[in-house]
Structures are given as structure tokens and as C-alpha cells.
């Protein structure tokens, strides 16, 4: 039965077209009708459910084909829906038309399914989470448009359209981060959201410009923007160049990678992502964890054959650095969402590093599994925050295990997944990345110092990941609930922070709790203010489980976080082989051949160590066993460490913190990268702006004024000229059009015989012209 599910262009292309179409129509409806659209949120969610069904259905087709040994080949514009862009103009420019079409392959199938599922879950979740928001409808409209953009990005078959959707996503990210910027009832979010949205927009713009430059470089050299043609062009170019990448390709590739650095929050442009947490939590889950930030990695996957080895080294370095550096920061954060944000950056580093190491399939795989469990983690965090009445500080939580059982179970599953516990989704993908690193080192062909650096960094980062994620679980769900306690183990630290004027994002969002505490500032001890603020609502200060739309969304994602790595339900032989991790569902549909086509695939594989490609080979086997052991080891060490520090010996963290005094201070302050950016980039920019303004005011204006004076001095000619010709021209256009309009109106006398006379006269004139001409 499953075998009969083969890709049918006649039907499936229309389904694919409907996939971005549904959220777009939803967006239009919602934005046009706003509150007049009855059950707008429900409608959009329903539409998104349809999208999810379509995408999952199509993905299952792909998986089924893969499991039955059929190569899931690329379906491209040649046999699908497409339209020619610049139909006439391109010919005039002397280049080929840009054909925008649908490109659907295994990676696309997986990515679509991810976006479809996560979008649906986020829509569902938001119904509970955003309930009562002032701009509830706008929120849904925006998130629908974002979904449209993301789906379009995945489906588009050329880099130009990828870029267009990329920018659209950037815009929607900006709007969604700034969602609370229109809500003055919460001063903290009000300020933070405005600032964070701007920061995110501007920071990613740096990367986007790089991407555009890179794309244009490729377009200039290759004359095309289609993926398939780009890959082939790269292969031919390199072959003609004696197997070496030309230097410009390294440069262009790095420019393209710049886009990834911006969008996927890689070092050093990662600074926007933690602040993007100013947006509503569902947005964080969808945009800043599962989909948009993954687009950068997706881009790398699409552009991989264009990357020279040198570029790949840079990519490896950046990815590995990001992975470990973000992980260290994640260990020190107390804000629930901040931990997850840093974890996201770290995981994105894993993916980028994987691509750099040649494990492009592994990177893509991790992108997919990560989307599931990270979305689930964020939504669980949202559920916790919602349950704790918009408190985000982990130090004010604890013991929620009993009060929010569903959330607890879901979050724990996904934490196990991200930590790389066996049988969970993250295990397979992280294992594949470690394997890529190991094979990279073992193989002479690809060996470089970067590989060792990457492997070590990634292994440590993986251990750190397990540590800080379980730290999160233990702090949030274990122990006793600290939200209501006046005195607990963190109260001194909190009071000190409050005294130092450090604002916290939590506890301020109060659509339903009044804004009484907004006035009396943040210097009051938290417990007291919590009572004062929420006192009028008897049950409000007790954490509670979230409503069903939220928990259902959590359960769907948690299920995928558990089983997303390996659908052994589908295919028994795959289950037998799962120890080898060889036949995950993902690898059955995405291989280098199916990603880039046979010719380019083989060529791309040529530059990759064979261990990554073939698990049965000597290197592959050796690498694989070591990789599995290493992953198990780091995961276990991280989990045990977290358990020891946050359950067994809860006094130790403070001691360690004290011991590490300066180091902790540096990490806690995010390595001062924001400050460095301010000092090195922003401040000079501002200074430059000030300088240019000065130049403009003093010199340019002065010059202009001088000329003006000279003119006046010379005589009235200039003024006359100005008045008659410049003003005159502007006025004349208006006058002539008005005047001619009036003149034409005079012709329209309403008298038919005069019309006839005019017509005869006009006809005679025409005839005369034609006769005399």
C-alpha cells in the first residue's frame, strides 16, 4: 500500500502550490477583515492544519519511496508548475528569463513537513497563549504571512526567490519580535520589544546584504539562479579549472555564508537572537528556533556544491565556535527563554559545523529533528510561562512537575532528545554530526586542523548542552515552587540584581492582572510585589496547567521529538538497523545523489571523506562506533553533572560561580560581544553619522548656500530661471494636465451634433494628415 504512494506531478504540484497558498490567503483574509473575520484564529489554524496534512502526506510519500529503495529524485521546474519572470525584460537585457518554479526533493519534503507541523502547532498553541492580546488578529495575520514566506522559501527553485522570501521572513520576524512594542501596558516589554526588533532587523540585514552580494556574484559568473543549473555550473567550472575551486568562488561562497551567519545567528552576528525573545513565546518557538533560523542552514544545504574547501573551513570554524561559545553562555542564564535561545544558537552551530565538515546530510537532519524538539521546548517554556503568569525567571519556578504534568513530560522528552539520549530524535542527528567530524579527521583527504577543533568543540558543546538543558529541567520542575516564597535559595541574588537596576522580562505581562505593579517599579522584593500585583485574583499566583490547545500542540511536537529521528513504525528492516543509525528516515530520502542529482552528487561526494557516506567502510565503521560512544559519553556526563549540581548538591553552583568569579562574569555577560559590537561597530557608525551630518550641515549646505549667495550676487537671473523654469515646469505639468482636462471637458458639450461635427472634423484632419504625409 505504501509503495503505491509515489509522487504524482499532476496532483502533487497543485498540492505543493496550495501549501504556501493557504497561509497567504489566510493572511489576506485576516489583514483585510481583522476583527470582522469570525473565528479568524480558528480559521487560520484550520488552514494550517490543512497545510500540515498536505506536507506530511507528501513527506510520507517521499519516505515510503525511500524505504522501498526507490530513489526520490528531484522534481523540478521542468515537470512542475512554474512561471517565467521577466518575460520580456530579460530578453532585452540579453540574459535568460528567470524561471521561478517549485523545487521539490527529499530535503524539501522534510523541511516542508517540519514547517507545516510546527506552524500548525504554533497556531494551535497561540490560541491559548495569546488569548486576550490586544493585537491578537494582527498576530495571527503576521504569523500566517511568515509561514507563507517560509514555505515559499523551501519550495522555490532558485536563489533569487529564496532571497525574496528570506527578506519577507526577516520583515515578519521584525514585526513579530516587536509585537509587544504596541502594548504600553507593559513598560518592560514595550521598551525591550521595540529595541530588540530593531536590533534583529538591522543585524540580520548585514548578513542579507552579504548573501545578496554572493548571489549576484554567482549570477554574474554563471548566468543563472536555478539551483540545479548553479550546481552543474559549479561542477563544470571546477572541472575546467583542474579540480580546483577558483578563488572568486571562495569569496562568493563566503558572502553567501554571510547570509547564514546573519539569519542562523552564527558568531559574531548571533547577538540578535537572545534579544528576539522579546517576542511572544510562540514566535520564538516558530521563527527563532524551528524555521527561520534554520533557513540559513537550509541555504547552506542548497548551496553546498558551490562552497570551496577553504570556504568550508571557515564555515566549520564559525559553526564549531558558535556551538561551544553559545553553550557556555546557556549554562549561566536564568531566564527560561534565554537558556533556550542560547541553546538554539549552539545547535545551529552544530548544523553549520556539520555542513562545513562535509556532513551536509547530517546537518540537514539535525536541522529537522532540532526543529521538532526545540519548538516543543519553546512551547513548553511558553506553557510554563503562561502557567506562572508570565514569569520567565527559573529562579522563581521549581516544583512545577506536579502542577503541570503534561508540560513536564513533553519538555523532559524533548530535553532528552536535545541532550542526545539514545532512541530520541536528537541522538541520531547529533550522532551523525559527531560522526561527520570523526570521519573528517580519520580521512586523509579531508583532514585538517579545523576538523579536530570542530570535533573537540562539538563534543564539549554536546556535553554542555546536556548539562544546561537538564539544569533547566531540574530548576523548573523539581524542588519546591519558589514563586510564592518570600525567602528561598535565590532570593538574595534576585534582590541584589533588582538593587543593581537589572530589569527582568518576567512577571510584567499582565493583560488580565491589571498593571498595578507597573508603577511601583522593580525595586520591591519580588515576592511582595507578586502578591500585591496578583492579590486580587485568588488562584492567579498558583501555577496551573495550560488549556488544551497548548498541551495538544506540545504533545504533537513531543511525540516527534521522541520518534522524529527514526520512524521504525514504517519499516521494520530500518528498525533492525537503527543501532547503526544508518537508515534513519531522513537518510533514506536525502542523500547527496538525491540532493544534487547524480552528477553533482558524485562530484560533491568526491570531496567528502568516505566514512560519512558509507557506514560499512573501514573508516565509516570505526568512526561510527567511536562516534556513538562519544555521544553517549557526553550526553551522560552532561545529565549526571546537572543532576549532581541542581538536585543533589544545590549549594554547589553558587560556590563554583564564586570560584570562577571573573570567568563567570565574562560568560554571564555573553562574552561582552554586544558591548564589543557597540564599541567597534555601532559607536563608530554613530560617530560617522554624526560626522557626516556635520559635513552635510556645515560643508555641503555651506557650499550650496555659497553658490546661492553667489548667484544672488551675480544677479536675479538665477532666481528668475528658478521661478520660470523649475517652478514653472512643476506648475506647468499640473496646469497643463488640469488645463487640457478642462479643454477636453469643453469638447464634451453633451450635444450630439457637435460631437458629430468634431468627429467629422477630426476625421478630415486625420485624412488630411494621411493624404499629405
Amino acid at each position: 500500500m505504501i509503495a503505491s504512494l509515489s509522487f504524482d506531478p499532476a496532483v502533487d504540484y497543485w498540492l505543493l502550490l496550495a501549501v504556501p497558498g493557504i497561509p497567504f490567503v489566510g493572511y489576506l483574509l485576516q489583514i483585510a477583515l481583522r476583527k470582522r473575520l469570525p473565528f479568524g484564529d480558528k480559521l487560520l489554524t484550520l488552514g494550517m492544519f490543512g497545510v500540515m496534512c498536505i506536507t506530511v502526506y507528501l513527506a510520507f510519500k517521499a519516505i515510503a519511496a525511500g524505504h522501498h529503495g526507490e530513489a526520490f529524485v528531484q522534481h523540478s521546474v521542468k515537470d512542475g508548475i512554474y512561471f517565467e519572470w521577466l518575460y520580456s525584460g530579460a530578453a532585452a537585457l540579453g540574459v535568460d528569463n528567470i524561471v521561478a518554479g517549485i523545487y521539490y526533493d527529499g530535503l524539501g519534503a522534510a523541511m516542508l513537513a517540519v514547517v507545516g507541523i510546527v506552524s500548525f502547532c504554533v497556531h494551535l498553541f497561540s490560541q491559548g497563549y495569546m488569548h486576550g492580546d490586544r493585537r491578537y488578529n494582527i498576530f495571527f495575520a503576521n504569523i500566517s504571512l511568515f509561514t507563507f514566506a517560509m514555505l515559499g522559501l523551501v519550495l522555490s527553485d532558485n536563489v533569487l526567490f529564496l532571497f525574496i522570501f528570506w527578506e519577507l521572513m526577516g520583515l515578519m520576524s521584525y514585526m513579530l519580535i516587536g509585537h509587544f512594542a504596541h502594548d504600553p501596558s507593559n513598560p518592560f516589554f514595550f521598551k525591550w520589544a521595540t529595541w530588540a526588533s530593531k536590533k534583529a532587523f538591522l543585524t540580520t540585514r548585514v548578513g542579507d546584504v552579504c548573501l545578496f552580494v554572493g548571489v549576484m556574484m554567482f549570477y554574474r559568473e554563471f548566468g543563472t539562479l536555478q539551483y540545479t543549473e548553479l550546481w552543474e555550473a559549479a561542477r563544470v567550472t571546477v572541472a575546467n579549472n583542474g579540480g580546483e575551486f577558483p578563488a572568486w568562488m571562495t569569496v562568493a561562497g563566503l558572502f553567501v555564508f554571510g547570509g547564514t551567519v546573519g539569519k542562523s545567528a552564527q558568531f559574531p552576528l548571533h547577538i540578535w537572537l537572545p534579544d528576539a525573545m522579546a517576542g511572544p513565546t510562540p514566535v520564538s518557538a516558530m521563527i527563532h528556533a524551528a524555521t527561520m533560523v534554520a533557513a540559513g542552514v537550509f541555504l547552506l544545504g542548497r548551496m553546498y556544491p558551490l562552497m570551496s574547501p577553504e570556504a568550508l573551513h571557515v564555515i566549520t570554524f564559525i559553526g564549531a565556535t558558535t556551538a561551544i561559545f553559545a553553550a557556555t553562555i546557556g549554562m549561566t542564564a536564568y531566564d527560561l527563554k534565554a537558556v533556550l535561545a542560547w541553546s538554539t544558537i549552539s545547535q545551529l552551530g552544530f548544523m553549520v559545523a556539520a555542513v562545513g565538515l562535509g556532513g551536509v546530510v547530517a546537518g540537514m537532519f539535525h536541522m529537522v529533528t532540532h526543529a521538532f524538539f526545540k519548538a516543543c521546548l519553546f512551547l513548553s517554556a511558553g506553557s510554563v510561562i503562561h502557567g506562572c503568569h508570565h514569569e520567565q525567571d527559573m529562579r522563581l519556578m521549581g516544583g512545577l512537575r506536579k502542577k503541570m504534568p503534561i508540560t513536564f513530560v513533553c519538555m523532559t522528552i524533548c530535553t532528552l532528545a536535545i541532550a542526545g539520549a539514545p532512541f530520541f530524535a536528537g541522538f541520531y542527528s547529533k550522532d551523525a554530526i559527531i560522526l561527520a567530524g570523526w570521519a573528517n579527521i580519520l580521512d586523509l583527504k579531508t583532514f585538517s586542523g579545523w576538523g579536530i577543533y570542530a570535533l573537540v568543540s562539538l563534543a564539549i558543546a554536546a556535553a554542555f548542552t546536556a548539562f544546561y538543558m537538564f539544569r533547566l529541567i531540574f530548576m523548573t520542575f523539581f524542588g519546591e515552587y519558589r514563586g510564592n516564597l518570600e525567602k528561598h535559595m535565590y532570593s538574595d541574588a534576585l534582590a541584589a540584581e533588582a538593587a543593581a537596576g537589572i530589569e527582568r522580562p518576567g512577571g510584567h505581562h499582565d493583560d488580565d492582572h491589571g498593571d498595578a505593579h507597573a508603577e511601583h517599579g522593580h525595586d520591591a522584593p519580588h515576592a511582595e510585589h507578586a502578591h500585591a500585583a496578583h492579590g486580587h485574583d485568588a488562584h492567579a499566583h498558583e501555577p496551573h496547567e495550560s488549556p488544551w490547545p497548548m498541551t495538544v500542540a506540545l504533545c504533537i511536537l513531543a511525540f516527534l521529538g521522541m520518534f522524529g529521528g527514526h520512524f521504525w513504525l514504517l519499516d521494520l528492516p530500518g528498525a533492525v538497523a537503527f543501532w547503526h543509525g544508518a537508515h534513519t528516515w531522513f537518510e533514506s530520502i536525502v542523500s547527496l545523489d538525491s540532493l544534487y542529482g547524480p552528477a553533482v552528487g558524485a562530484w560533491a561526494a568526491d570531496g567528502i571523506s568516505e566514512g560519512i557516506l558509507d557506514h560499512s567502510s573501514h573508516i565509516g565503521h570505526a568512526a561510527h562506533v567511536r562516534a556513538v560512544i562519544l555521544s553517549l559519553f557526553v550526553a551522560t556526563s552532561g545529565i549526571v553533572g546537572a543532576w549532581y549540581l541542581y538536585v543533589k548538591r544545590r549549594d554547589l553552583p553558587a560556590v563554583i560561580t564564586k570560584k570562577l568569579d571573573f570567568g563567570y562574569y565574562v560568560v554571564k555577560n555573553r562574552y561582552f560581544i554586544d558591548e564589543a559590537a557597540t564599541l567597534l561597530v555601532i559607536a563608530p557608525s554613530v560617530k560617522l553619522g554624526v560626522f557626516l551630518k556635520w559635513v552635510d550641515e556645515k560643508i555641503v549646505d555651506g557650499l550650496v548656500l555659497g553658490i546661492g549667495r553667489a548667484n544672488r550676487f551675480l544677479g536675479f537671473f538665477s532666481a528668475w530661471f528658478d521661478r520660470i523654469f523649475v517652478d514653472g515646469a512643476v506648475n506647468a505639468v499640473g496646469l497643463v494636465s488640469q488645463g487640457l482636462g478642462s479643454a477636453f471637458r469643453l469638447l464634451q458639450t453633451g450635444r450630439i451634433q457637435q460631437y458629430a461635427a468634431f468627429a467629422v472634423g477630426g476625421g478630415l484632419l486625420t485624412a488630411a494628415w494621411l493624404i499629405l504625409a
Binding site: 461635427a757 467629422v760 478630415l764 485624412a767 488630411a768 493624404i771
Partner: protein, 212 residues
């Protein structure tokens, strides 16, 4: 000049022109020429009178002269069937229709005449004359060069040829049928628009059941 004098001058001039063209036609081409001159005069003179006269009824009758003259020209052009059709349809049908119209509308004697007619006549006439002369001087008509009276087989009755042409598969049958549709549509339209009912005058008070 008062109206009376103008009328006299106009009709006097017309009479003179008639004499001149008749004589000219006779001199130029014998009796056929005279016949042509007569019919041409009927045609154009009728048109002139039609424009000149201020009574609609008179104008309508002048137009009849035009139509009859054209019928005569058709006979000269060996299209006797057409001539009959011209008289039957134009004089018998269209003109009768026009006369109905004339009678259903009141006479309008306030018509200004010379001041309004002459300048227009002059300008348009001159322009058309200019164009006409240029055309006449340069036209190369697709003629076979056969003069009117040089034809061996003499006048033919075109009725049969036309009748066959109407119905022959590869000639005019489509046009014929289309003409039928045109007439049907015109009939329906004319009847609908000319038909008057109470409800047309008082659109807001349509009485139930009033149909027709």
C-alpha cells in the same frame, strides 16, 4: 433677403441647374446621358432640398426624390432588381417610417436657416470637394474598361443571380441568414422601445399582472 425671396432664388437656381445638366447630358452621351443627368439631378437636388427646407414633411418628400433618383441610377447600372428593392424598401418602407416619425412629432418652424446651414455647408463642402478632387484625380478603380452601352448582351435581369447568390452554399447564405437575425433583433428592439405602457411612464407603480 426675406424667406420668400430666398426660396425663389433657390428653386429658380435648381430649375436652371436641371436644364443645364439635362442639356449637358444629352450633348455628352445622348439619351442615356440625359437620363443619367435627370436621375443624378433628382438624387442631388432632392438631397439639397432636403437640407434646405425647414418643413420636415417637405424634406421627407425631397428625400423621396433622392431615393427615386438613385433607383433610376440603379436601372442605368443594369441592376433592375436593386432598383425595385430601392423603391420598395426605401420609398415604401423607410420613408414611410420617417413620415410616421414626422407625423408623431410636432412641426418645428423655429429652424434657423441660412446662417446655420451655409457656413457648415461651405466648410464641409469645400473640405469634401478637396478630398474628392484629390481622390478623383488619382483613383485607379478596379474596372475592366467596359463602357455602359458597349456591352454586347445588353441589360441583364439581376434578380435571378441575386436570388441564387442568397442561397448558394459558397456565396451569401451566411450573410442572408445574418441579415434575418439583424431584422429580428431590430424588430424586437424597435417594438420594445416604441411600445408604451403605463408602467413605462410611471416606473415606480408597476401594476401586477400587467404583461404584454
Amino acid at each position: 433677403m426675406d424667406q420668400q425671396t430666398l426660396q425663389r432664388i433657390f428653386y429658380g437656381a435648381l430649375g436652371l441647374i436641371l436644364l443645364v445638366v439635362l442639356g449637358g447630358g444629352l450633348a455628352a452621351a445622348g439619351w442615356p446621358g440625359a437620363a443619367f443627368a435627370l436621375f443624378a439631378f433628382m438624387t442631388l437636388g432632392g438631397g439639397l432640398v432636403c437640407i434646405w427646407e425647414r418643413s420636415v414633411v417637405r424634406s421627407a418628400f425631397a428625400l423621396m426624390s433622392t431615393f427615386m433618383g438613385i433607383a433610376g441610377l440603379f436601372i442605368l447600372l443594369e441592376s433592375d432588381f436593386l432598383a425595385m428593392a430601392q423603391i420598395l424598401i426605401y420609398v415604401g418602407g423607410i420613408l414611410a417610417l420617417l413620415l410616421f416619425g414626422v407625423m408623431l412629432t410636432p412641426p418645428d418652424m423655429s429652424e434657423r436657416k441660412l446662417g446655420r446651414v451655409l457656413p457648415g455647408l461651405g466648410i464641409v463642402g469645400l473640405a469634401i470637394l478637396w478630398v474628392g478632387l484629390k481622390v478623383a484625380a488619382t483613383a485607379k478603380w478596379a474596372v475592366q474598361g467596359a463602357p455602359l452601352d458597349g456591352r454586347a448582351d445588353g441589360p441583364i435581369s439581376s434578380a435571378e443571380a441575386i436570388g441564387v447568390g442568397f442561397l448558394a452554399v459558397d456565396q451569401y447564405v451566411v450573410a442572408f441568414e445574418l441579415a434575418a437575425i439583424v431584422l429580428t433583433v431590430a424588430l424586437v428592439a424597435a417594438v420594445y422601445i416604441a411600445r408604451r405602457r403605463l408602467s413605462d411612464v410611471q416606473p415606480s407603480r408597476t401594476r401586477a399582472g400587467e404583461v404584454g
